[in-house]
């Protein structure tokens, strides 16, 4: 996610150094003859450096392995600015992406927000070296959440209902203050002019949740597949005017590695993957059980009927 990429940058020099080091690894391995040695059936699956994306990469990889591909992994590569060039160079062949974020990364002026608009705009915005397959219905987008008590007290169901609440504070990453689909969007699309902003740089993580539960803030921007939303029975305000761009999970593929066999394998995953599944996978991997992403991925593939044993 674009926003998440930024919050990751904030985690500091260490993360950047790691990302650089990893790119160093991936590019050096490609220089040592990745293209020549690659058999038709070898696919390298990459991922960004956050756990949900790693699980998705594991799902893609295991689904491809089940279809007879030889799969290599380059997980936790880093932020979008690092792994997209790697994908364009063919250092990795497949990476799970989010439609809205990758669109705004490729086309800074993109205005599409609904699922269909984003998909068609993305097809146009993709460079000639890349191809996107079918998006899943699973989406991990920004969402505004309130506590059940606050929702009930103020009769809230959609974002627009906040207009009638006299005093409330919104917590989000600092970029939300200036992003077109942040506060400016809340003002222009929903006509909210009573926003008090509280920046918390953890991407809707534990500090944001704590502030919301403590009633220090009343509304929090939390990614829609974050387990804490379900765990704390938070009420996600609906977004009928599509302020937040659709963020469907979509396989992005290096064009030279694309094949109908690859496409059908990845589309089969997209056809089954729902937001609920993603939420459950995140709960397993990030929650108390700390399930290994590869194990969680395997369990999901089995339950979806994409893996026989």
């Amino acid at each position: 996610m674009f926003a998440r990429k930024k919050s990751l940058i904030l985690t500091g020099v260490l993360a950047t150094a790691t990302a650089v080091a990893l790119v160093g690894c991936s590019s050096s391995s490609s220089l040592s003859g990745n293209d020549s040695s690659k058999s038709a059936g070898t696919i390298t699956v990459g991922s960004a450096n956050f756990s949900e994306n790693v699980v998705l990469a594991d799902i893609y990889g295991q689904a491809l392995a089940a279809k007879g591909f030889t799969v290599k992994y380059k997980l936790n590569i880093g932020a979008r600015a690092v792994y997209i060039p790697a994908l364009e160079a063919g250092d990795i062949d497949v990476i799970p992406e989010y439609s809205g974020s990758i669109l705004s990364y490729l086309d800074k002026t993109a205005a599409a927000t609904s699922g269909a608009d984003v998909a068609s705009a993305l097809t146009k915005a993709l460079p000639s070296t890349l191809v996107a397959y079918k998006p899943a219905s699973a989406a991990d987008s920004d969402s505004l959440n309130v506590t059940p008590a606050f929702a009930q007290a103020n009769n809230l169901t959609s974002i627009g209902d906040l207009k009638n609440v006299s005093k409330w504070i919104l917590a989000a990453n600092p970029e939300f203050q200036t992003r077109p689909d942040g506060i400016p969007g809340l003002k222009s699309v929903y006509g909210l002019d009573n926003i008090n902003f509280q920046a918390i740089s953890d991407g809707g993580g534990p500090a944001t949740l704590k502030a919301l539960l403590d009633n220090t803030v009343q509304v929090a921007d939390i990614y829609s597949t974050t387990p804490s939303i379900v765990d704390n029975k938070l009420v996600t305000l609906t977004d009928p005017k599509n302020l937040f761009a659709s963020q469907e999970v979509i396989p992005l593929v290096y064009k030279k590695s694309a094949s109908s066999k690859l496409e059908s394998a990845l589309n089969a995953v997209s056809a089954k993957l729902t937001t609920k599944d993603l939420l459950k996978l995140n709960s397993e991997v990030q929650g108390d059980s700390k399930t290994d992403p590869a194990v969680a991925a395997k369990a999901w593939l089995k339950s979806a009927g994409l893996l026989s044993k």
Binding site: K6, P174, Q198, A199
Partner: protein
């Protein structure tokens, strides 16, 4: 344009002093920054000074104090803040706690090493004259150690001023707000502007301490040192000479 030039231009844009993206401007954030610093420093002083005086005067517990100081220096401020935020929640309390933990070691070291630097013969003489322990402490040791004491306070203040910026990570105010927001919003002029302002603020406060430190050395101490006659007439160079030795020891 050069990113640093952009940063300075951001600072010198008049409207930024009252309002930045609809939130507090530079003027208000400087006050917030100083407010966090002063609050933290208050607790640092009421904890570190009595403790340092006790250790320095009695000579007991020095090993424990040094170990505790070094251990607390090794604590990562941001990590500790993240932990406290999850326990206490966002606000000024967790920020103050991490800043106090950060500020105690330099001041504590300044106080007890200041007291230790006092010549034992001077203290023995005071005791022989019939001074009580408290009189020795406050009439002999503290005045003689004053330069090192202020030096410790100076180091603690600068560390805190430079570190208040982490408050912004979890929604706090202060000049760190501009750095964090600037990076997140791809507004690097703002980030550089904020960083420059923190540096300038630290240098200004350090300059104030340099002045205070000059006057912190009691007359009795400077009388005995070289160049005192010139200092009495208000010559500026000898004044530096009288304070230089203690400052160097304190650093």
């Amino acid at each position: 344009m050069n990113i640093f030039a952009q940063g300075f231009q951001w600072i010198f844009t008049a409207s930024h002093w009252t309002d930045v993206n609809g939130s507090a401007g530079i003027g208000a954030q400087i006050l917030f920054h100083l407010q966090y610093t002063v609050i933290a420093l208050f607790f640092v002083v009421i904890i570190a000074v009595p403790l340092g005086l006790l250790i320095g005067h009695t000579g007991k517990g020095r090993a424990v104090a040094i170990t505790a100081s070094n251990v607390s220096r090794a604590l990562p401020t941001l990590g500790l803040l993240a932990l406290l935020i999850l326990v206490i929640g966002i606000g000024i309390v967790p920020t103050t706690i991490v800043l106090v933990i950060l500020g105690i070691p330099p001041l504590l070291a300044g106080v007890y090493s200041g007291l230790e630097s006092v010549d034992r013969q001077t203290i023995d003489a005071a005791r022989a004259m019939g001074m009580t322990e408290l009189q020795i402490l406050f009439k002999v040791e503290v005045p003689l150690a004053m330069a090192l004491l202020i030096g410790g306070l100076r180091a603690a203040t600068l560390q805190i001023i430079a570190t208040v910026a982490v408050a912004a990570v979890y929604g706090g105010n202060g000049l760190g707000r501009f750095v964090l927001d600037g990076i997140a919003q791809n507004d690097f002029a703002k980030a550089v502007g904020g960083a420059v302002l923190i540096i300038v603020l630290a240098l200004v406060v350090d300059g104030l301490y340099a002045i205070i430190q000059r006057f912190a050395v009691p007359r009795g101490v400077s009388r005995g040192s070289v160049g005192r006659k010139h200092a009495a007439r208000g010559g500026s160079i000898p004044v530096v000479a009288t304070t230089r030795t203690p400052i160097t020891e304190g650093q």
